[in-house]
């Protein structure tokens, strides 16, 4: 009776010692209940009633010995029962006032005797329940608890044993079927059931075998082994005796080890299977594991075990998929350069598309039985397409689907897990007070620890926490948000929160009048909205507008000295708003939404504050958004650059990084570059270069320097600040993100002679040339540009040549990416120009000339223009010109003639005029109809095009037929205008061409009249 008596009964004094029961209705009820139990005991359980207690119950009684009648020996003040135990001790012994009773039977009888005094007696008995018996009771209770605990424990172990069920087996087989067939890419040649008939429980084994737990039999033909006959049973998968030849009967006897599933077995049996399986797993994306949940309703067997099995399986698969995908993106996107991410996005896009198609197809097949789960799936896939469309270019790797590694089922669960489970139980079933207590206690756990985060999720705490957000109780909401804020640092939890519909609720809380609530909600949104789908949900529910509205709170924050308590709160609200916007601003559509909601002026105002905490998210948001043209214009208009520059001087590294990043984004614009200089931003940038420990910041700073150095005035400033020397120092041992920017900056600086000299003197050429062997496309583009710029200097060229830089550049012409090709080709031009013995050098590259000529077949205008420029330089050497003519340069060039691109026109015309120098190329150009389009170039607005074209026409006009073509296309009038040009070369070429045409005309006239 220990528990009831210690907990419910109301004792007069707490603690130990002589305690008495209070006279209260509750106690009375308890005692009455006890009496009833004891009284009826003798009738209900006569045998047990005779059981003798080890220790007698002993108390002071008010009973008179005379009350005892038959069955008792009464003598004066003592009473002995006639009933005795084995040793002859009486079971009831009364020696006034002490009474000892040693069995329930006697207890019952005593109460019967006591009649009216029952209550008192029982109470006295209970009150006298001494400490010794208390301890015994406790031990008994403990034993009972241990028993329960053991029971739970064993249950847990049983549930951990992986057991197969028809559903999972079927999934496995269906999946393998998809990847079976002829050919080397498939995992198996074939996989078939032995029986087509499927019982209603999903099994295919005959009923008498089903009793043994067997589900189905499968014939598997791997590429590299005999056909295997496999039994799938609940215990696992094993090889059986195979089909007996005569009757097609299966020998059910087990012939091999038991494996946990089919895939494991096959991996063991077939090497090709395991090899191809790992390849396939990358390809088949998330489909299989998404299908599995849909099967759930069909299953009737072993549902309890199913959950753990599927989740583990899907985890494994997902992990592999993710691995595959991240490798894919890594290859394409080694740096954070934005241009590359486009291509990886495309690949992702196609991946998803195929997946969507699969889902779509599924729907049509099974339209009759569209389960809610499936409908949701389809909706999700539709959302995904949409999301891809609104995908921002600046999204980074962290957005990728994280592997959902649930706790391995057999891993030991930490003690926190059980404690949290208990707290969640109180959250579910408690009133406000209990809820608040549970929330507080939950907050005391180390929520940054993954085990705790996952524990909250796994015991269903997320649902409750999100549910609490919909109550009216402010305290509960605050508590819940505080926990959500912490645990949403975990990527998996973020996804779960979104899946459970937590975001719309949080967005609604943003309207709350409670500032601390607003803050917490915004901060939580900031954490959750780290991936696309979440950002979209925030936008869809009007979250962006509300978040922008939060920014408005910090109106008076300009004067921190005067800010009162209320204002600091306002600032805090604005800060949290900015934080959330920062997370959200990674999606393109959200950037637009922020702009439309009037966020830019508010951000600009907040930028004037001096709170670092505030500035970081504000600048972060601006930096994200500055990838959009609209924003850059607005940033210029709102005079934000000034403040960005100011904050470059801050102490906070993160702030400096984001400011530099924002400048990097904005400095594409010339006016902005000038503004940075005018506000004195170049000096802090240059000085930040000296601190190379923080790589992210270094990348941002070098990026800003790169973009700023596009302006010549800025370069001069940088030279003053000795930034160029520092940049050269950064060419080694830096991550690629930094290198791209450093090399880009050097490439811009190299446009000036003085800087080229500095770079050479600092020994910058060697590291630059070394970088030519890299694979990072953005880096290659910049390196080739820088090397090309250096090659303008003959002295530098000597160094490049010695380092074999030209050969490296040349081999980059084979790079798959057009930007790299073009950039390498441009770089080759000055190299060929300035190299000693250029002709010999060019010829020394085996197959080099053919490679260049073939590049004229490219579709990319920039590549074509650059290659034309290279050919112009190559053709300066007669021997090389002969070689490229043999490779068919003339028809290829002629084919390009019909173009509107002035850059290409100019270089093409230059090349043509060069190539005319060899053999009968002039005639050949005429034959390939290159002349007429060239004449049209004269109508262009570009003088460079005019000059090159006039020179080409001058060369071509050496041939009579070409003169006729030119004349027919009205070249003479156009050329006459060119003769009046201030450009002397143009004058000369135009005049020469006209004179050739004229001479031909004269010759014809002369021939006619003579």
């Amino acid at each position: 009776m220990g528990v009831a008596l210690t907990r419910s009964a109301q004792w007069t004094a707490a603690g130990h010692g002589a305690k008495t029961l209070e006279v209260t209705p509750l106690n009375e009820a308890i005692v009455k209940e006890i009496i009833m139990f004891v009284e009826s005991f003798i009738y209900k359980y006569p045998q047990e009633a005779n059981y003798v207690f080890v220790e007698p119950l002993e108390w002071k009684t008010n009973l008179d010995p005379s009350a005892f009648g038959s069955g008792y020996a009464v003598s004066g003040t003592t009473v002995k029962s006639e009933e005795v135990d084995k040793n002859g001790e009486p079971l009831l012994y009364l020696s006034v006032p002490q009474i000892k009773i040693r069995s329930f039977g006697q207890l019952s009888r005593m109460l019967y005797i006591a009649k009216n005094m029952k209550l008192k007696e029982a109470q006295a008995c209970i009150e006298d329940d001494d400490s010794e018996s208390e301890i015994k009771m406790k031990i008994a209770l403990q034993l009972k608890q241990l028993d329960l605990h053991l029971l739970n424990h064993s249950l847990k172990h049983i549930s951990l044993e992986i057991r197969l069920n028809p559903g999972t087996v079927k999934n496995d087989i269906e999946l393998l079927k998809q990847f079976s067939g002829k050919g080397k890419q498939t995992v198996l040649e074939s996989i078939e059931y032995t029986s087509d008939y499927e019982f209603s429980n999903g099994c295919r084994a005959p009923p008498w075998r089903q009793i043994k737990g067997e589900i189905c039999y499968v014939l598997v033909k791997p590429h590299d082994a005999e056909t295997l006959c496999v039994t799938c049973s609940k215990e696992g998968v094993f090889l059986n005796g195979g089909k007996t030849d005569d009757e097609g009967q299966i020998n059910y006897e087990r012939k091999g080890e038991i494996y946990k599933d089919l895939v494991t077995l096959l991996k063991e049996k077939s090497a090709i299977f395991s090899e191809n399986m790992s390849k396939q797993e990358i390809k088949f994306s998330e489909q299989p594991q998404k299908d599995q949940p849909n099967e759930a309703p069909k299953e009737e067997v072993a549902i309890t075990h199913k959950a753990s099995v599927t989740s583990r399986k899907s985890t494994q698969e997902k992990n592999r998929i993710n691995l595959g995908r991240s490798q894919l993106t890594k290859r394409l996107e080694p740096s954070l350069n934005w241009r590359t991410s486009v291509s990886s996005k495309e690949s992702r896009n196609t991946l998803r598309d195929t997946q969507v198609e699969k889902h779509g197809g599924k729907l049509e097949k099974s339209r009759s039985s569209v389960s809610p789960g499936r409908a949701q799936l389809i909706r999700k896939s539709v959302e995904k397409i949409e999301e891809i469309i609104s995908d921002s270019s600046s999204e980074s790797e962290e957005d990728e689907e994280q592997p959902d590694h649930r706790q391995e089922a057999n891993a030991d669960l930490p003690s926190e897990y059980w404690q949290i489970q208990k707290l969640v139980k109180y959250l579910k079933g408690g009133n406000q007070t209990a809820t608040v207590i549970a929330l507080c206690s939950m907050k005391d756990f180390n929520l940054a620890q993954e085990t705790c985060q996952l524990a909250i999720r796994d015991v269903g705490g997320l649902e409750v926490l999100i549910n609490l957000l919909e109550t009216d109780e402010v305290k509960c909401k605050i508590g819940s948000l505080k926990i959500l804020k912490e645990i949403s640092h975990n990527p998996q939890i973020r996804r779960n929160i979104v899946d459970l519909g937590g975001l719309p609720v949080m967005v609604n809380i943003l309207d709350s009048p409670h500032k601390s609530l607003k803050c917490l909600a915004a901060e939580t949104i900031a954490n959750v909205a780290k991936f696309r789908r979440a950002r979209r949900v925030v936008r869809r529910h009007g979250g962006i507008t509300k978040l922008v509205a939060l920014l408005d709170c910090g109106k008076h924050s300009g004067e921190p000295a005067q800010s009162s308590l209320y204002e600091t709160r306002d600032v805090e609200v604005a800060r949290c708003g900015a934080l959330a916007l920062w997370s959200c601003s990674k999606s393109y559509a959200n950037k637009e939404a922020i702009r439309k909601a009037g966020g830019i002026p508010l951000l600009a105002r907040l930028l004037k504050t001096s709170h670092e905490n505030m500035l970081i998210p504000v600048v972060g948001t601006l930096q994200e958004c500055a990838s959009e043209e609209n924003y850059r214009a607005a940033i210029k208009a709102e005079r934000i650059i000034e403040n960005l520059v100011k904050n470059l001087n801050s102490e906070n590294e993160q702030l400096q990084e984001h400011c530099a990043m924002a400048i990097y984004q904005c400095a594409e614009d010339e006016e902005t570059r000038d503004l940075v200089r005018l506000h004195g931003g170049l000096k802090p940038l240059a000085s930040l270069l000296n601190n190379t420990d923080n790589k992210e910041r270094l990348a941002a700073v070098t990026g800003a320097i790169w973009k700023c150095s596009i302006s010549k005035e800025n370069v001069t400033k940088f030279r003053e600040y000795k930034a160029i020397e520092t940049l050269v120092g950064l060419l080694t041992d830096q991550p690629e993100e930094v290198l791209v920017n450093v090399v880009g900056a050097l490439g811009e600086c190299c446009q000036e002679h003085e800087n080229r000299v500095i770079i050479r003197r600092c020994g910058g050429i060697q590291p630059l040339v070394n970088l030519l062997v890299g694979i990072n496309q953005a880096l290659l583009v910049n390196v080739t540009k820088a090397v090309g710029a250096c090659a303008v200097e003959p002295e530098s060229m000597m160094i490049i040549d010695r380092l074999d830089g030209v050969r490296l550049l040349w081999s980059l012409l084979k790079n798959p990416h057009p930007d790299v090709k073009a950039s390498a080709a441009w770089a080759l031009c000055p190299c060929i120009q300035n190299a000693k013995d250029a002709g010999e050098m060019v010829r020394s590259f085996v197959g080099g000339l053919e490679l260049v000529v073939n590049l004229l077949k490219s579709d990319n205008k920039e590549v074509l223009a650059s290659v034309c420029a290279v050919i112009t330089n190559i053709a300066k050497d007669q021997e090389n010109l002969a070689v490229i003519t043999d490779h068919g340069v003339v028809p290829l060039l002629s084919k390009l003639a019909n173009t509107n691109n002035d850059k290409l026109r100019r270089h093409l015309a230059e090349t043509i005029s060069r190539c005319c120098m060899w053999g009968r190329n002039r005639v050949a150009f005429g034959e390939h109809k290159a002349v007429a389009p060239l004449v049209r170039y004269l109508k262009s607005n570009d003088t460079n095009v005019h000059r090159a074209t006039a020179q080409a026409l001058y060369q071509l006009s050496e041939d009579a037929d070409n003169c006729v073509t030119m004349h027919e296309n009205g070249a003479v009038k156009l050329l006459l205008d060119m003769v009046g040009s201030p450009d002397e070369e143009l004058q000369e070429a135009a005049a020469g061409c006209i004179s050739n045409i004229r001479r031909l005309a004269l010759a014809i006239e002369k021939a006619r009249y003579s």
Binding site: S8, G429, G430, I437
Partner: protein, 188 residues
């Protein structure tokens, strides 16, 4: 705030002055004279016609006060409401006088954290022995959990909550001595 601006003018000034003296003495100058007046007006509004009867102590009795707590502050827990009444009723005469009213509400409205905590402590310290014992906490939380049918021992959860709460309280250093569980105290 309309009401009884002139019902008890002399009384008002008396209360205001004594209270302000009192409050200065206790270092709570946070409630302004005007606010005190408003509170007094509110009090007479609430007391209403009860005051008209002669020979009775002017004030809110237990039921009236509980009614206010329920209607105005949305309190539902019987036990807490009772304790709050006791907290207000300093002289234990079963009736809240105007001084007690102003005093009590000033803690609610303008009290410092410490004052509020002290008040809360008094509410929870059922037997007034300057300790909050497990038993007292148990009483307070008795009804806080829904009874789960599956539960073998419905009090188990509450016991646990009590433990959590007491642990939490002794963690927060504030008034560490006072919050100590008497059992622990005995053991030390």
């Amino acid at each position: 705030m309309d009401g009884h601006p002139s019902t008890h003018p002399s009384m008002d000034t008396w209360v205001t002055s004594t209270f302000c003296e009192y409050s200065c003495y206790e270092h709570w100058c946070t409630v302004s004279k005007f606010e005190v007046k408003c509170l007094i007006n509110l009090f007479y509004n609430l007391v209403g016609e009860v005051t008209e009867r002669q020979g009775m102590i002017i004030g809110l009795d237990r039921n009236a006060f509980r009614n206010i707590l329920h209607m105005t502050f949305g309190m539902t827990d019987d036990m807490i409401m009772d304790r709050v009444f006791r907290g207000f009723d300093k002289d234990n005469d079963g009736c809240i006088s105007v001084t007690e009213w102003v005093y009590g509400l000033s803690v609610f409205l303008r009290g410092t954290l410490e004052e509020k905590m002290k008040y809360c402590f008094e509410v929870f310290d059922l037997n007034g022995d300057s300790f909050i014992s497990k038993e007292e906490m148990f009483h307070m939380l008795k009804n806080s959990l829904l009874k789960q049918p599956s539960e073998e021992d419905p009090d188990e959860g509450i016991k646990d909550l009590v433990e959590i709460t007491l642990k939490k309280m002794s963690q927060s250093e504030f008034e560490a001595q006072v919050f100590k569980d008497p059992n622990e105290f005995n053991e030390v």
